[in-house]
């Protein structure tokens, strides 16, 4: 992996090491999109394997796949739909957290929209389950609040 620090050809690749020890290669231009990676490159140099403690071998390939498409300008609605189609709720969250850690803005925006879409028109219980959040309202408080919001409860989709 001996690369000259001065060369900056577009085919230059950066090595990333995930928290579980696997190594992936990405193009330097893709690395630029992940600000955390870029910062580490700036600090450590680009001929060193960049360690990413909080990203794992499960997520990183997906992220790399996204940015590969991004640098060629091929991200379309169809691609994005395909990208999230087979992800379950937990996987989306994992990817989302990774995108946040990597400061990968475009992916972050896309996934936050996807999570919002997954919550749309779902019941309160579903949302609590999704985020693993506990209801800390007392039953009285909750019924009072529901009363106030009464007109927003119609048209709830059935929980999957």
């Amino acid at each position: 992996m001996a690369q000259e620090a001065s060369s900056s050809t577009s085919s230059k690749t950066i090595s990333l090491k995930t928290g579980d020890g696997e190594i992936f290669e990405i193009e330097a231009s893709a690395a630029k999109q992940m600000k955390t990676v870029q910062r580490l490159i700036d600090d450590l140099g680009d001929d060193i394997t960049i360690p990413l403690h909080n990203v794992f071998s499960k997520e990183l390939p997906k992220i790399i796949e996204y940015y590969k498409k991004d640098i060629t300008g091929e991200i379309t609605k169809d691609f994005e739909a395909e990208f999230v189609k087979d992800l379950n709720d937990d996987e989306v969250k994992v990817l989302f957290l990774a995108a946040n850690y990597l400061d990968a803005n475009k992916l972050f925006e896309f996934l936050s929209q996807n999570i919002a879409d997954r919550l749309e028109s779902k019941s309160v219980e579903y949302v609590r389950k999704y985020f693993g959040v506990e209801n800390d309202f007392t039953p009285e408080e909750e019924s009072k609040l529901r009363e106030e919001r009464a007109w927003s409860f119609r048209g709830i989709k059935e929980d999957e």
Partner: protein, 584 residues
């Protein structure tokens, strides 16, 4: 490492895990851990990664069952030893109480390892040792499932209104997260809001029920709001002002309270502000004159816009009728005035009071900007007075001074105002006799506008003005050639026209797809969308038709909501209806 040893157990685990969509790594570590637990009965020296996995395991168990670890990121809140309240909340029943053995060497169903009892056992073992790890969890993102507040917000901000309202019921923290002014501003500025149409004036069985029908356009869902404060009031006008709807004027029957009774009624000066988000309303200072169906216009102005209060000191010698305005009299002085407006350095002596007002306003603006309020002016002109006489007076409400102030009357030969809208810095008003005038909000006078005429319209259908994206439009019904009837103009068609504000010419933009059955069709616009609401009674039923047109994509009017929410309403609702659109 342990993979050889796991063998059958793992594959059994794996089958069940598979159904739960858990990763292979997780499977391996679960089996690994559980085996260790069984064998060692102590946590021993584990590597950091294993710990995290373990914690990952247990919390993943949690998540899969939806038992919250509380709202704190990563931390196992409330899971003290013997924290019965947490366990009490579990609705998975008491089967966990027996603490069935974990999966591993024993030939028990793997699903047991997810039973409540085992999870609790893990918790109680772990929490003692892992409080430091939990600290770590909170700070780093190894907790793959729990999202930190700041990025959670980024998801919630994108929710449409109804889902957002549900989010506010999830827990106390979410409630406060999604109601801070900063969050709401982020939502507004990020353009995550969607249009909502509010239909007022529903009359049922002769009574003004005070029901508001709200259409969530993006979800195509109707909601009904009971607005008791509107009961009995009819023929009021509505205008959307930021996130609220102002309800201005109107009538109510003197003899038959609640009924639409035009035989004996009172006309109101009162003004109300309704906030759909909080389902609350408040009283606004009343107008100076009682009006029903006034023409309304809303200006959003900056906080240092001169107060309308001070303008009372300025002399208005007479209303400026006709096309004569300062522009033609003294262009240079005017342009100087315009240039200096930002520094409020006008040369006229009469501006001294306004300078003081400006300073005073500056103080107010410092206060209110901290409260993140936006300033607006609401103009009300025309309408019908207490004896149903058409009015030509006008008044304006300033949100900063919270008062109504007179403005000059409509131009002398203008006629009866039938429609009006704010576009840019002008309030355009159209009359029943096809005259167009504009009130200049800054300079405080009317200008008559001579525009090229539009084709003669069908007389009973008064044109409606709308403004979208800084452009001025009009919907007008005119005769055109019927199909196959060349030369015979016997088909009535509603068309959308645009006024070129520079050359003052009307151009036809598009044709509305529906036959114009409603002479009192209402059109409102917000951002780049123009919404049309038509209601009419046919075959004993009141039907409603909602259409929308995107001004950036002119050729299409689309139908939205064919649900006919109004089919139970009386025919008089067609006359009393009014519509406001908000972005919520």
């Amino acid at each position: 490492m342990f993979s050889e040893r796991l063998g059958a157990e793992e594959s059994r685990c794996q089958e069940d895990f598979h159904g739960l969509s858990v990763s292979k790594r997780l499977v391996r570590s679960v089996s690994q851990k559980l085996r260790k637990k069984n064998n060692n009965r102590s946590l021993g020296e584990e590597e950091d990664e294993d710990d995290d996995d373990v914690n990952g395991v247990s919390l993943k168990c949690l998540t899969l069952y939806g038992r919250g670890g509380g709202c704190k990121v990563g931390a196992d809140t409330g899971d003290e030893v013997g924290d019965s309240s947490n366990r009490r909340r579990s609705s998975s029943g008491e089967e966990g109480k027996g603490y069935k053995p974990v999966c591993g060497p024993q030939d028990t169903a793997v699903v047991d390892c997810f039973s409540y009892g085992v999870r609790d056992r893990f918790w109680r073992r772990h929490q003692r040792k892992n409080s430091e790890i939990d600290e770590l969890m909170t700070t780093n993102n190894k907790m793959h499932i729990f999202l930190p507040d700041d990025i959670l917000e980024m998801c919630l901000v994108r929710l449409p209104l109804t889902s957002l309202m549900n989010a506010r019921l999830v827990c106390k923290k979410w409630r406060s997260l999604t109601t801070t002014p900063r969050f709401l501003q982020m939502r507004r500025e990020g353009l995550y809001q969607n249009p909502w149409l509010f239909l007022f004036g529903a009359v049922k069985d002769g009574f003004c029920s005070g029901e508001i029908h709200a259409l969530d356009v993006s979800q195509n869902q109707w909601h009904r709001i009971d607005a008791g404060f509107l009961r009995g009031r009819f023929l009021f006008s509505v205008a959307s002002v930021q996130d609220d709807i102002f309800i201005v004027g109107g009538c109510s029957s003197l003899t038959n309270f609640g009924k639409v009774d035009r035989s004996s009624f009172k006309t109101h000066r009162g003004v109300l502000s309704f906030s759909p988000l909080t389902k609350s309303w408040r009283k606004i200072p009343s107008m100076k004159y009682a009006r029903s169906i006034p023409i309304l216009g809303v200006f959003e102005v900056s906080l240092d816009f001169p107060s309308y209060q001070s303008r009372q000191d300025k002399r208005f010698p007479r209303s400026r009728i006709g096309g004569v305005s300062d522009v033609y009299e003294d262009p240079h002085k005017l342009s100087m005035r315009r240039h200096c407006r930002s520094t409020i350095n006008e040369t006229e002596a009469s501006t001294l009071p306004s300078r003081k007002a400006h300073k005073f306003l500056k103080q107010i603006s410092d206060l209110s900007s901290s409260k993140n309020s936006r300033r607006f002016l609401l103009v009300a002109v025309g309408g019908l007075g207490s004896w149903d006489e058409p009015l030509d007076s006008g008044e304006i409400y300033d949100s900063v001074s919270n008062k109504w102030t007179d403005i000059p009357r409509l131009p002398f030969d203008f006629g009866i105002a039938c429609s009006g809208v704010v576009c840019g810095k002008m309030f355009y008003v159209y009359s029943e006799t096809d005259k167009l005038a504009a009130y200049d909000i800054e300079r405080g006078f009317w200008i008559a506008i001579q525009a090229t005429p539009i084709p003669p319209r069908v007389h009973e259908y008064y044109p409606k003005l709308v403004s979208s994206n800084g452009r001025l439009f009009m919907l007008s019904v005119s005769w055109c050639e019927g199909d196959g009837q060349i030369g015979r103009r016997n088909k009535a068609v509603r068309k959308l026209w645009e006024l070129d504000l520079l050359y003052l010419t009307w151009t036809e933009v598009s044709v509305h797809p529906d036959a114009p059955m409603d002479w009192n069709a209402v059109f409102v616009a917000d951002k780049n969308l123009i919404f049309g609401v038509e209601m009419f009674k046919i075959f004993g039923q009141v039907l409603d038709f909602f259409t929308v047109c995107d001004v950036t994509d002119m050729s299409n009017w689309n139908h939205i909501s064919r649900n006919h929410v109004t089919h139970e309403l009386d025919g008089s609702s067609c006359v009393t209806k009014s519509v406001a659109v908000l972005h919520l």
